[in-house]
Assembly symmetry: C2
Homo-oligomer: 405 residues x 2
Amino acid sequence: MEKIVVMKFGGTSVGNVEKIKKVASRVIEKKHLGYNVVVVVSAPGDTTDDLIEKAFLISKNPDTRELDRLLSTGEQISISLLSMAIKEMGEKAISLTGAQVGIRTIGSHTKAKIKDISSEKIVKELNLGNIVIVAGFQGVDEKDDVTTLGRGGSDLTATALASVLKASECEIYTDVDGIYTTDPRLVKSAKKINKISYDEILEMASLGSQVMQARSIEVAKKNNIVIHVRSTFSKENGTFILEEDKEMENVLVSGVAFDKNQVKVSIFDLIDEPGVAAKIFEALASNDINIDMIVQSTANNGKNNISFTIDKTELNNLLNIIDKLKTKINIGTLKYDENVAKVSIIGVGMRSHTGVASKMFKILADNSINIHLISTSEIRISCVIDKDKLDIAVNAIHQGFNLDK
Amino acid sequence: MEKIVVMKFGGTSVGNVEKIKKVASRVIEKKHLGYNVVVVVSAPGDTTDDLIEKAFLISKNPDTRELDRLLSTGEQISISLLSMAIKEMGEKAISLTGAQVGIRTIGSHTKAKIKDISSEKIVKELNLGNIVIVAGFQGVDEKDDVTTLGRGGSDLTATALASVLKASECEIYTDVDGIYTTDPRLVKSAKKINKISYDEILEMASLGSQVMQARSIEVAKKNNIVIHVRSTFSKENGTFILEEDKEMENVLVSGVAFDKNQVKVSIFDLIDEPGVAAKIFEALASNDINIDMIVQSTANNGKNNISFTIDKTELNNLLNIIDKLKTKINIGTLKYDENVAKVSIIGVGMRSHTGVASKMFKILADNSINIHLISTSEIRISCVIDKDKLDIAVNAIHQGFNLDK
């Protein structure tokens, strides 16, 4: 069989009839290059948001089985219109829902996980000469009910299909022309990255950068599928995400990521008894609150202070949980600060080069920016700073590590 | 098992969130009366028309398999939103697509026929205490591809389900409060009919009246399912469609139907040879052109004149076919007249009463209305008249047969 390529188009790429026709041309070009083409499509434009709005007008807590059925209609519209457009241009095409492909899922509605994918139906249709158009974001559970895969679900469909089909490449078409060294809206000299490793992108995703969701990258990494993030509206290469190589290691820092939606939470005067901190973190974890950048220090009075960050959307939830805990254990005083932001540098080169962290701290100090909290991984350094200094910090770091060159 | 009722709601009844909530209340009321409730829903408001428009912007001749997938999304939206609304109000509900119910179809896409319906899944869900919400208008073919049932398809889903489930009643909810003796927009004194026979409704449907499609009525008649056509927005009884009884036979005429979209076609000077007329009608039939009210007469010169009516939408098609035929056989001169309309009276009472036809002709004559063509069945008399006289004709006939009393 010829080489298989998976092309994924997001909602903005199929937002109207003209755009759908452009996508159809693009897909046909690829087919004419000799590839077997599998296309994954998201729901058109704002369709999903409109449907969610309707559901929440009906119920504050809509039944998730019904919500999944509702949300799965957007992709069905995309795949049928795209298939029509391709056929109108004279190529053979067939659309398939997640259920028809055989994308079986487990787990709860609205955030199902892919259990397995049968390649049989797709391979059969490819062998018949068809361009195969698959509905992204959806599968079917053991009761044959439609399920959806949560945020970034169509990317996951694409990388998972590429893995099962042993595709030579998984192209993610979007409305930007690749992944940048940082957000170009904040730093004018931001540069498109030509290639970047899975691990670096995973760190960026975990920092909330507007790149692909971690789950999709993990699937591609595990199966060594090269992802190509590129623009629907340009023929230029975008950013290749792949296994790291020697060349990448020579780059100290690949990108600067930041997150404005962080809250710094501090608990003062925590009794220094074994298990008290554990009880707090257990309670937060069991309520699905992601905490990050935990720092514990011992105060003069022998009691502990603990600081950490959470996403802003979790704040109310956290305050409720702590209030309940207070009735059971003495946990001291809680304070939180919403005027903070997290800035991070990412790069596999850090593993083999020293002095990257101290350079970052010096750049911040040179710009009179105070660091509240620090956390690091093998290939990432993150600092929590005052939110009003974020703009200066990102620009200074971007320039300091020569990312604009 | 308790009595089963099938309630079908059309697109205008589920056109927005407020209306969906009203339908939910209505359905729950029925459940509280002790029924097992199965609901069939159409696509909301203009959804289907919008989708068709998009498809035709992409292709003048959209692939029908893809068109069926596209069109089937509207009902999926309706069933999930309605199910959410019912659950929000505290009742148990579950939505099912045609495929999930097991509505298997044969025949071509966009006009599939129901082959069989499995009652198993619905009965199981009813036994669990669920209100079962079924997507109208759709089924699934032997390839497990979604199919649609054509115009009036949701009514067909409802009557077919009522038949399979041996429902005590099939309620068709719509935006009018029943079936009228004639169109109230034309005749102000038109009255709602309380009950009418299957055969009468079948005649009305075949005349293009805005009632249910013939297929749905035929299914209900075969299985002796009482259909109740009523308003979504009123508690009043509407019109019951059922097996004829003695009482109905006492009514001479049940309704006056009319059709403004007719064209009278006449072929003059047709050679009086065996098989010439047959060739013409064969050619029309093989092109799916429905002809009606055929009248043949012999002219003075020994040649034949043939007149018949067709639907206006078929005119261009017919003219092309006749043009082609002309190259093969001598078929004389064709003329057509678009300024005609068909007016019909329907009533099972005609079978046992004489003089109905002559009374209709007299009413038309008294109003100086010329009759071009006449055709009759056991329970119907139709006349083709000048279109500009239709208004007078319908009002005069309606009054003449005391339908306003």
